[in-house]
C-alpha cells in the first residue's frame, strides 16, 4: 500500500547508509537519495496536508516541480521552511518535519476543513466572512492558512554575489544540453554549463534506452569526461538559472553547502551569480502534465516519469500494484521500467484509439492495455485503493481496477520560463497541446524537450546545431491523445485537482469562468491557480486547457500568465548577499570618533553618519547631559566634531556666476575672506539646503552644506554644469571627507585656539564673525571659518581629515583649564533653537519656500534667476496666508510642546482648523523655560497674538513671538 526499496536498480550508494529524522522518527536511506526517495523507500505515504483543505498528500513528482511534499528542514536558526522533499539531498542526521498538520500527519484536526469544502471554494473570502466586519475573521483565516514556520533568529549563513562573463551559457545538462555544450566548446569559445541538480545528466539518469550505441549513463559519462578535458568549459552543478534579464544577463543560484550537514558547513551557503553571456542555449527540458480526475490528489497518484525516476535513479518503487494512465507514449516507458524492476503493473490506460509502436513492449511483458479510456476517479481515503476508468467518448464509468498507485501522463509542457522572461514569445502547438517557444528577442535558442523535441536523436541534433550556431530543425511532433473534461457544473470537478499546492480544483476553474473571470490573469488571481511556490509548473497549462474548453476559445487566444523570475524559489538571503546587518547601511564615522567614544559619547545614527548625541557623565540621563553641555557652551567653551559637514570646492573664472544661479542669496558681491549664510532651493522652489559659503580666494569658493546632502548637492552642481550651463568654466569637487572640522564654541573659544598655537591673528578686528582665514593651527595647515550655529563665539577649524582626531585631542588638552566640554548633536539642536536658527528638514518640509523662513526680502532684492526662483512666483508661492516660521512661548506651566502639535485659533473649543504646527521644541537650559518654533499661517504678521496649541489631546495657550529668543542682537557672536 506504499513505496518500497527495490532490491537492485538506482544510483544510490547502498554501501552508505544514512540516518535521518522524519516527524520525530529515525529512518534510514542511502547516499544519493533525496529526502523524497528515502521517505518513499521507507513506506511513508502521507508527506503533507494540503494548504486549504488539509487533505492527506503524497509525492506527485521527483523534481523541483513537486507541489505536495513541502516540508520544514532542520530547526532553529538554520531552519528552512517550505522546501520540497524532492530537492533535499539526504545527509547524515538530517532533521525534517511535515507542516500544516496538527497534531500529526495521520491525524490532522484541521482536516475538518475538508468537511466544509463546498463552502470554501476558490475566492470564498471575497464572498463570505465579510459581515459585519471582515477584519474579525481575517486573523483566524490567516492562521489556518500557510505552510511552514519562519526560522527563529538571525540567519547565520553568508551569501555571496559574483559577476561573470561568458560567451555561451548552456542551461541544463540533459542529452540536448550536453550535446550543445560539447559542440559549442569545440568552437573554442568560453562555455558555461549550469545544472540545477547535484548530478549532471537530467533525464539520462533514469533513461533505460540506449543513446548512440551506449547505455544512457555511459553516454553521459563520456560527455562529461570530454567536457572536463576542455579548458574553455566551466561546469557548475547545484546551480539553477533562475532569471533571464535584459541584455543577456542570467541570474544563477549556486547552492554551495545546502547538501551538507549543518555542523560541517563552512564558507558561503549560496552564491548568487550575475552572468553576462553572448549567447544562451536553453536545454531546460519539459514538465509532465497531470490528469485532472476525481480524487487525483490521493497519496499514490503520481506523474509517470516521476515513478520512472524513483525506480531507475533512486531504486524505489512507488507502490505494489500500479495502473498507468496516459495520452502519449512516454508513460509506457515508465510502465516498462517498473515492470522490469519487479513492480506489478496492472494496466496501461491510454486515451488514444491506437497506441504507438511502443505498445508492442506492453504485449511482450504481458501488461494489459486499455485504449480509448481515461481515469474518472481514484478510490481510497488516505491512499489509492482503486482506479475507476471511463470511456473517453462518453465519460461514463466502466471498469474499476484495484491498485495502490496511479501513474498519470497527460503530455509534456516545455519549460519555457527563461525563454519567456527574456522577452521571447510562445506559440501553442495543438499536436502537443503545449506552449512552445516561438520567437526569441535576445540571443537565446531552445533545444531538446524545451523546444518540444522529444525524440532523442532529434534532440541531440538540435543541441549540436545550437552549439555550432546553426539553425535548429524542428520536427513535426507526435500528437497526444484526448483529455476527458468535466462538463460545466459536474460536481465531481470539485474533487479533481489542478493546482495541488494551492488546493485549486477543476470546479474552481469552472466557478471563475462562470463568474466572468475569463482572462488567464484573472483565472490565476481569482482561484490562486499557479500562485504557490511551485508557480504552477504542474497546473498552469492544465488550467488554460480547461478554460479553453469552457469558453470555447483556443488556448492560443487564452495565452499564458506572465513569467517572472525566480524560476524556482531563491532564498532571500541570496539576494541580500553581504548587504546585511551593519553592511546594509554602513554608517560613516566622524574624524574624532574614537576620542569621542573614549570620553563616553552616546552615539546615534544621524543620516548615514554615526555621531555623538550627547556625552553623559556618571548618573546623567540624556536631559541632564544635554543641559550641562548647553550651559558649558554658553558659559565657557564647548567642542563639537563637525567633520560630517558638507564641504564642496567650487573653483574657476565663472565660479561666482555659477553660485549666483544656485543660491537664493547674492554671491557675486562677496569679498575674498568673507562668509555668507545661504539657502538653496529645488527647482520647485522648496528650501532644500542651507549652509555657509565662503570666498576663500579669487575665483575660489567653499560651499558648506548639511551633512546629509553633501553628495547630492555635489552631484546636483555637476548636473547643472554638464547639462544646462555648459559654457561656464567651473570645477566642482566634494571634499567633505578630505577635511575634518572641529568646532570650538563659547566665550573662551579664542583662548583655546591661542593655547594650541596658530599663526593666524585671532583678534576681534583681524578675524571678525563670518570671515575665513587660512594658516597653521598646532603646526597643521588649517582653514578656519568664524561661523556659529550655537550663537556663541565660534570657530570651525578644518584640517586635513587625518589630523582630525589629533586636533580634537589638542583642543581638549588646551581647553582643559578653560573648562572645555565636548557636546553632541542634541545640545547643538538645543542651542540653535534658543537662537531661533532654522534647521532644514525640521523647520521646513516639502512645501516651505524661502519667503516662509525670512528670505522674502533677499529674493526681492536679487534681480537674477536662480534654481527654483520661478516656482516661488506661482500662485501658490504668492499666497498671502502661507505658513511662516515664528517662535512660540508657552503661557501655562505644561512644559515643552510636542513637535507636530497643531496651532488653532485661540477661541477654539476642542479640535479646530489647523493654522500650522510646532516644528522644533526644547526645554531651554539657558533661559529656563520651554521654547518652540512653528510654521504658522501669516505668522510674522501675528507676532504677539495668543493662539491655542493642540498638544497631546489638550488645547494649551501660547503666544506667537520672534524666534530669536536668546541674544537677539547677536552680541555674543561678535565676541
Amino acid at each position: 500500500m506504499s513505496g518500497w526499496r527495490l532490491k537492485t536498480a538506482g544510483r544510490v550508494d547502498r554501501g552508505q547508509s544514512i540516518a535521518f529524522q522524519w516527524a520525530g522518527r529515525t529512518l534510514h536511506g542511502y547516499a544519493g537519495d533525496t529526502l523524497a526517495s528515502a521517505l518513499m523507500a521507507n513506506g511513508v505515504s502521507i508527506i503533507g496536508r494540503s494548504f486549504k483543505y488539509h487533505r492527506p498528500r503524497g509525492l506527485l513528482a521527483a523534481g523541483l516541480e513537486e507541489p505536495n511534499a513541502i516540508i520544514q528542514l532542520e530547526t532553529g536558526a538554520v531552519a528552512v521552511p517550505n522546501v520540497k522533499a524532492t530537492q533535499i539531498e539526504l545527509y547524515e542526521g538530517l532533521v525534517a518535519n511535515p507542516v500544516n498538520a496538527k497534531p500529526s500527519l495521520e491525524f490532522d484536526l484541521l482536516a475538518v476543513n475538508s468537511l466544509f469544502k463546498r463552502f470554501i471554494p476558490a475566492a470564498f473570502y471575497y464572498k463570505t466572512f465579510m459581515w459585519p466586519n471582515w477584519h474579525w475573521f481575517e486573523p483566524a483565516i490567516r492562521k489556518a492558512a500557510g505552510l511552514g514556520d519562519a526560522p527563529e533568529g538571525v540567519d547565520p549563513d553568508s551569501y555571496h554575489h559574483r559577476f561573470a562573463h561568458t560567451d555561451i551559457m548552456v542551461v541544463g545538462s540533459g542529452a540536448a544540453g550536453l550535446a550543445a555544450a560539447i559542440a559549442a566548446a569545440k568552437g573554442g569559445e568560453k562555455v558555461l554549463l549550469v545544472e540545477a541538480d547535484a548530478e549532471l545528466g537530467g533525464g539520462l539518469l533514469s533513461e533505460p534506452s540506449e543513446v548512440e550505441g551506449l547505455t544512457a549513463l555511459a553516454w553521459r559519462d563520456r560527455m562529461l569526461a570530454a567536457l572536463s578535458d576542455m579548458p574553455n568549459v566551466t561546469v557548475m552543478n547545484r546551480t539553477m538559472a533562475f532569471g533571464f534579464y535584459d541584455h543577456q544577463l542570467v541570474g544563477l543560484c549556486e547552492r554551495v553547502t545546502d547538501h551538507q550537514p549543518p555542523s560541517q558547513r563552512s564558507g558561503p551557503r549560496q552564491r548568487l551569480w550575475k552572468v553576462r553571456t553572448k549567447r544562451v542555449i536553453l536545454a531546460t527540458g519539459a514538465f509532465e502534465r497531470p490528469i485532472a480526475f476525481s480524487g487525483n490528489d490521493l497519496p499514490g497518484v503520481m506523474l509517470a516519469s516521476a515513478a520512472q525516476t524513483y525506480a531507475l535513479r533512486y531504486g524505489v518503487a512507488p507502490g505494489q500494484r500500479v495502473v498507468v494512465a496516459t495520452n502519449n507514449d512516454s508513460a509506457y516507458h515508465a510502465a516498462f521500467a517498473l515492470h522490469d524492476a519487479g513492480v506489478e503493473v496492472a494496466a496501461i490506460v491510454d486515451s488514444r484509439a491506437k497506441g504507438g509502436d511502443v505498445i508492442s513492449g506492453a504485449a511482450e511483458r504481458g501488461i494489459r492495455t486499455i485504449m480509448d479510456s481515461a481515469p474518472l476517479k481514484a478510490k481510497g481515503r488516505r491512499r489509492v485503493s482503486g482506479a475507476v476508468l471511463a470511456d473517453v467518448a462518453d465519460g461514463k464509468a466502466r471498469d474499476t481496477i484495484a491498485c495502490d498507485t496511479i501513474l498519470m501522463s497527460n503530455g509534456w509542457n516545455p519549460a519555457v520560463h527563461l525563454h519567456s522572461q527574456s522577452g521571447g514569445s510562445l506559440a501553442f502547438n495543438s499536436s502537443l497541446e503545449a506552449f512552445l517557444p516561438s520567437k526569441s528577442v535576445q540571443a537565446a535558442v531552445n533545444v531538446g524537450a524545451a523546444a518540444g523535441i522529444f525524440d532523442l536523436d532529434i534532440a541531440l541534433a538540435s543541441g549540436r546545431a545550437a552549439g555550432q550556431g546553426d539553425d535548429i530543425q524542428a520536427p513535426f511532433p507526435a500528437a497526444v491523445g484526448p483529455t476527458l473534461h468535466f462538463a460545466d457544473g459536474d460536481a465531481r470537478a470539485a474533487k479533481a485537482w489542478v493546482d495541488f499546492q494551492n488546493d485549486v480544483t477543476a470546479g474552481d476553474v469552472q466557478i471563475a469562468a462562470r463568474e466572468n473571470f475569463r482572462s488567464v490573469e484573472h483565472l490565476k488571481r481569482y482561484t490562486t491557480l499557479g500562485m504557490a511556490s511551485d508557480q504552477g509548473k504542474t497546473s498552469n497549462v492544465t488550467g488554460i486547457h480547461m478554460l479553453s474548453n469552457l469558453l470555447g476559445k483556443p488556448p492560443q487566444a487564452i495565452g499564458t500568465t506572465k513569467f517572472r523570475p525566480p524560476f524556482d524559489p531563491v532564498t532571500i538571503g541570496g539576494f541580500a548577499g553581504r548587504a546585511v546587518g551593519e553592511n546594509l547601511m554602513p554608517l560613516a564615522h566622524a574624524a574624532a570618533h574614537a576620542s569621542a567614544l573614549a570620553v563616553g559619547a552616546k552615539m546615534e545614527n544621524y543620516g548615514s553618519w554615526l555621531r555623538p548625541a550627547y556625552f553623559p557623565r556618571a548618573g546623567e540621563d540624556e536631559h541632564a547631559a544635554v543641559a550641562r553641555e548647553v550651559l558649558a557652551v554658553r558659559g565657557q567653551v564647548g567642542l563639537f566634531d563637525a567633520s560630517p559637514l558638507g564641504k564642496i570646492e567650487v573653483k574657476g573664472p565663472d565660479a561666482a556666476e555659477f553660485l549666483q544661479r544656485v543660491y537664493v542669496n547674492g554671491v557675486r558681491n562677496l569679498k575674498v575672506g568673507r562668509c555668507r549664510y545661504g539657502l538653496m532651493l529645488s527647482e520647485h522652489g522648496i528650501v532644500y539646503d542651507d549652509g555657509v559659503f565662503a570666498k576663500i580666494a579669487e575665483d575660489h569658493f567653499l560651499v558648506g552644506t548639511t551633512s546629509g546632502h553633501a553628495a547630492a548637492i555635489a552631484d546636483m552642481l555637476q548636473e547643472w554644469l554638464q547639462c544646462e550651463w555648459t559654457d561656464l568654466k567651473v570645477l566642482v569637487e566634494n571634499v567633505t571627507t578630505a577635511w575634518a572640522v572641529m568646532n570650538v564654541a563659547g566665550p573662551k573659544a579664542r583662548a583655546v585656539l591661542e593655547a594650541i598655537g596658530t599663526d593666524i591673528d585671532l583678534s576681534r578686528d583681524a578675524f571678525p564673525h563670518m570671515t575665513y582665514r587660512e594658516g597653521l593651527v598646532g603646526g597643521v595647515p588649517a582653514r578656519i571659518q568664524r561661523v556659529s550655529f550655537s550663537g556663541e563665539l565660534s570657530y570651525e577649524v578644518s584640517v586635513p581629515w587625518g589630523y582630525g582626531r589629533a586636533l580634537w585631542d589638542a583642543m581638549m588638552q588646551a581647553g582643559a583649564p578653560h573648562g572645555i566640554t565636548p557636546f553632541g548633536v542634541e545640545a547643538l539642536m538645543a542651542l540653535r533653537i534658543e537662537k531661533g536658527f532654522l534647521h532644514v528638514g525640521s523647520d521646513t518640509d516639502g512645501t516651505t519656500m524661502p519667503q516662509d523662513v525670512g528670505f522674502g526680502a533677499a529674493v526681492a532684492k536679487k534681480p537674477d534667476d536662480f534654481v527654483g526662483r520661478r516656482s516661488t512666483m506661482t500662485p501658490e508661492g504668492l499666497r498671502a496666508d502661507r505658513r511662516q516660521l515664528v517662535g512660540l512661548e508657552t503661557l501655562d506651566t505644561g512644559g515643552a510642546f510636542e513637535c507636530g502639535a497643531h496651532i488653532v485659533a485661540a477661541d477654539t473649543k476642542g479640535i479646530g482648523a489647523t493654522q500650522g504646527w510646532v516644528t522644533s521644541s526644547v526645554q531651554s537650559p539657558t533661559l529656563g523655560r520651554p521654547l518652540a518654533m512653528a510654521l504658522v499661517e501669516r505668522g510674522t504678521a501675528r507676532i504677539g497674538e495668543t493662539v491655542q496649541v493642540w498638544n497631546l489631546g489638550k488645547g494649551r495657550p501660547a503666544q506667537i513671538v520672534d524666534p530669536r529668543f536668546y541674544d537677539p542682537a547677536g552680541d555674543r557672536l561678535d565676541g
Binding site: 559577476f163 534579464y245 535584459d246 541584455h247 543577456q248 544577463l249 550575475k274 553576462r276 522577452g423 528577442v441 574657476g652 527647482e683 520647485h684 552631484d715 555637476q718 548636473e719 554638464q722 547639462c723 544646462e724 555648459t726 568654466k729 567651473v730 570645477l731 534667476d865 526662483r869 520661478r870 516656482s871 512666483m873 506661482t874 500662485p875
Partner: protein, 109 residues
Amino acid sequence: MLLIDCPFCGPRAEIEFRCGGESHIQRPGPHTHVSDAEWADYLFYRENPKGEHRERWFHSAGCRRWFNAARDTVTHQFRVTYKMGDVCPEAGESAVSEAAPSAVAGGIV
C-alpha cells in the same frame, strides 16, 4: 540589469548609473517672462513614448559624466548613446565619439 554603453567608458552594468529622465529639455527663461503653463510644462510634463525615448544617464560610479541615450521603452534596447549637448544621431548614423576617454570637454584644466 541593463548594459549601458557609456560614450566615455564603454559598456557597463546599469548599477553604475543613474537615470536622469527625458533629455533635450531646455530650461525656460528669463524667469520674469515664463508663464505658469510653460514653467509647469518644464517641471512636470514629460514624453511617455511606447518606443524610442531620448533620455539622460549619469555614470555615477564611473567617469561621472552625463550623456544621452536613445532607448526603446518596450524592448529596453539602446539604439545609441551620445554626448550631452549633441543631437541624437538618426538610425543608421553612429554617434561621433572622442578619441580617448581622458579627453575633457571644455578645456577647463
